[in-house]
Symmetry: D2
Subunit: 335 residues, 4 copies
């Protein structure tokens, strides 16, 4: 059974959801529900042409609107929410990227506070060919064009944080949020520790694709049609968001400096591997050291996000997180 | 006129204020009010003897209770709240410090995530001699005792954050919060940019004294009797908390890595100096480079805090922030 | 023509090469030379069984011996050395990995100086099956075994540094050195800016494989039989080491914190892309942001190393670095 | 007895000493020698007027010349060199400061590699009044002038590094080098661990004064007339440079990110305090946490330097480092 949740495309941006925690649920769903919905792009659709500047057309209070929060029945602190992405498809044949003043990995920022002027503000429009599964980059200052693979994903996926906090949708952390990892694509299950009753799950920030690290701070931003299955693992905590695909288990860490994000992701992967295989911590540390892949997620958000991936072959048949991914994969296939 | 706000010393910890933002005001005050109140210690009084362990006697959800929030009439986003500390005095003749598992500058932590066991958990009780203005350190594992100067201060001072966020009282940031700077002593004015109507000012975390950096993460923690004058500077923004004493202007920055906190504090001090003196940005950068003092505040909280101090002699008579500190100093003298 | 350079397997470790710069050349070679040689493992063969501890069997002054330096005729500051790895093959059917006290990503270290005891010191012996192209991991504390793909590479490749410096072979930097990137495999060309006459090229630190990040600080360490072609690009500087394979151009950066390594690698990749395609800096920044892959190299050495990879398809036929890789690839095929 | 070592003021910059390690000693001295000499400014005198630009008048290979190295008879690895600064006096009545492209705390740099243009290059000339003990700041873009206290010091003090390394005089580290701490003033003793026979001590980079952090990267640079007593503590290692004044013991740490420099300095101060007083490590950690002062040294060099200071009163009469400072202080008084 698929439940639909629709958005009003003409809603006032001021009334949308921009936080994890602190917002009333838009809908209550039972564990195991397949939810069909869509998400606005991170600019709420305000950047429409190459002449639109983010600093002119967007209100800084209303960036990165989320779809949700969804109240998951029975979810309690200490449980883990499992969100399986069944499909993620761009709603339109175009995406947009920009530079944003004092935002990005290769510019001074509000916290890497320097005395430079901002880099020039620019907007790039990408043509998206959903049939050919391509996005087309076109340079602004020369005739250079090149096609890149379409690889749709959600930059922002999360639940309400712990300790009574409410966090803006631009921030990543142990509640998920704006992790901006290209691993969050269709076919992947995301595990999130539940901090409050009902979990209060939201997501958004669709990217037609992004480079690892999301270097300039803005991916190929698009509204997305997305189907997720939302499930619950009772009594199993999950201190940091985890992902699982058919081929990999993936731990995440979000922190600054970037080596701390690396440390979190690898300490979590070590513990996860040990838990699934019975390896001692030192033996798991050793195996992670030789087998992990480490694509960067983002080096641009309020804190940075790293992922640490382990091929499932290394697990020799162990079924991670109680076999949840395989189960949800089968449910998705049956939709 | 002094307004009093009293706390119930027997209140249930679960009912206290542990966030900036997200809590209903306990009282409404007019700008210019002198407020006499007191603050619980960061453990809400739960650590009482050298055998008490934080991990055993405290609930992690109920650490660092704040007194407030106070709704300041007329405060709006874009204004600056000025909080002048008239007096800060330990309520009791003893303070407490501890190690806390995976918290502190010389241990692995939740974000500097390593595979070590936690350092041993210990509690030190300090005798406070309010007449002699001393706190007495006593070693646990040898008979060593030494007196240190009493230097009371508040570790946590802040307002509700921007962007609809609610932040735990353990976190410092541009809203103030858990900055843990020893500069926050009596005679000092703290400037905080207002993000929401009424500002929602709270404070707590009294320290009989602390070293710069608060290296182990816990100062000489005490309940405090405190008098503050709360005033408002209309129409003047303050992007990061500032302090002013009779002798210094002090900019703060809270971020990780620590060099980013340094950058924020010094970029803010440069801009502040330029604004008060008419110096160009580069001339102010040069003068800050030769004249600033840079005591570390904390290297232990969710992000780290640096302060950058400039002797007021460098300002050649300019009255910072429109002369607010001098005005509040005079009001305090007249109480 | 292939020139051979052999090592004395019984040489006193004290007489080997442990620095970039500061060592007399062992041989002079002409640009275009194919050099067949071998490298000791990073422990100079001292760690032979699971009961050998690095802290007991190795002298800290004699870690990571290099083969070289080779004086490249005609190399001058401002030129770029191109080192094409024709083949890299383990000399033996076994490799070794260890934990080393206060070394690695998930432990306190000499610079992340904490008060913890060192993690336990352990040694793992890996069986290498050169026919099946596998390395076998065997846990120490449980019977777990798993095969991982053999993927031989050199952790340390470099030239003499600039500014008269001599750097230990444990350090990575703009001269190359101990970058520990798994991209340094056979079929790859490494570009290194020349800082002194003759370049003084050395390499070593063979790994049968490593995870990205080399998390515990030690890969599957082996002596290697290696053939390289060493060539020279006159009059073209290369500020940071670059790699090129048939499918990717790869920029590197080595620094702390890790975000600075990321920034260097991506700023260099942006400039490289702009230089090869005529894109403006901002257009190149945008394209890198959507197309780059970012595997971590190491988060354990004196500074950390990041790589930023761009699929050559993005270059639309441009021949990077004047077509050097393609030329050396052809030379290698003709050997 | 005072030994003099004079420099040739007209020497070719290319022939001066720019490294720690790698240079032949200029003189051999016995432990206990008082050495009277002078040091060039960091630009070797090339920046002479407000119109001189560092990027135009200086060769990047010849920045920060050192006086030395001095071979100290009997010094061996495992000993500690004690350098007591008897007097440090500007040779001239003027000093110079500048901005330098991509160098400083509030600009992108070679490692915090961003896409900004360099900040404007400027030169400030300071008048030094040696009688009145003042340096006069004069703004370039407005008529602002202000006097600051003269506080002469040496930015660069060190010995040859370990592991056969040779390090440029712009780098700080465990060998000392370019620490740029304002604590290195007359009346202070600097302790440096010996890494090679003869220690090979050099120093330079005189500052008429600097702010803590040396924010723009350049202090009030001057040639200095300096008298030091060089002594040796046999058989006592010193893993990181230490300083001692009449009132404080001061540990240093040089690393990135800045929190690692903080960690090193505080871990060293903790161990030093424990060694002098018999306190356990945890008791010393606690006392450091409440009593240390933490002025930043530099946030601009190849790595950053922090100092951690403890008032000697805390030591209750213990004579640090075997009473060396008191002994050298007496020797200095008797000169």
């Amino acid at each position: 059974m698929v439940v639909s949740y629709d958005l009003d495309p003409d809603a006032d941006p001021a009334g949308l959801t921009y936080t994890f925690g602190g917002a009333a649920p838009v809908m209550s769903i039972k564990p195991g529900t397949a939810l069909s919905t869509w998400t606005r792009d991170c600019f709420a659709g305000r950047v429409r042409s190459a002449s639109d500047r983010v600093s002119e057309v967007c209100d800084p209070r209303f960036i990165n609107p989320q779809t949700g929060p969804f109240y998951v029945e029975g979810a309690e602190p200490g449980d883990t929410l499992a969100v399986h992405f069944v499909s993620i498809e761009p709603r339109e044949a175009r995406g947009v990227s920009t530079t944003v003043p004092f935002f990005g990995a290769l510019t001074g920022t509000g916290t890497t506070a320097l005395l430079h002027e901002a880099l020039p503000e620019r907007t790039w429009i990408y043509e998206i060919d959903r049939e050919a599964r391509l996005v087309r980059y076109s340079a602004l200052e020369s005739p250079y064009e090149v096609d890149l693979p379409l690889d749709p994903m959600h930059g922002t996926v999360g639940v309400a944080p712990a300790l009574g906090e409410v966090r803006n949708s631009l921030a990543p952390g142990d509640w998920g949020g704006n992790m901006d990892t290209p691993e969050m694509r269709a076919g992947t299950t995301c595990y999130l520790g539940v901090n409050v009753e009902g979990a209060l799950f939201s997501f958004g920030d669709g990217h037609a694709r992004q480079g690892e690290g999301e270097t300039c701070g803005v991916a190929v931003e698009t509204a997305m049609d997305t189907v997720v299955i939302v499930d619950l693992i009772k009594g199993m905590p999950c201190p940091w968001p985890r992902l699982e695909s058919d081929d990999f288990i993936i731990a995440t860490g979000s922190a600054k400096p970037l080596e701390d994000a690396f440390r979190i992701a690898h300490a979590e992967l070590t513990k996860w591997l040990a838990a699934e295989t019975g390896l001692s911590t030192l033996d798991a540390y050793q195996l992670v050291s030789q087998a992990a892949l480490t694509p960067v997620a983002n080096v641009v958000d309020t804190v940075y996000t790293m992922t640490a991936k382990l091929p499932k072959a290394v697990l020799k048949g162990a079924a991670p997180m109680g076999g949840t991914h395989a189960r949800l994969r089968a449910m998705a296939a049956a939709l």
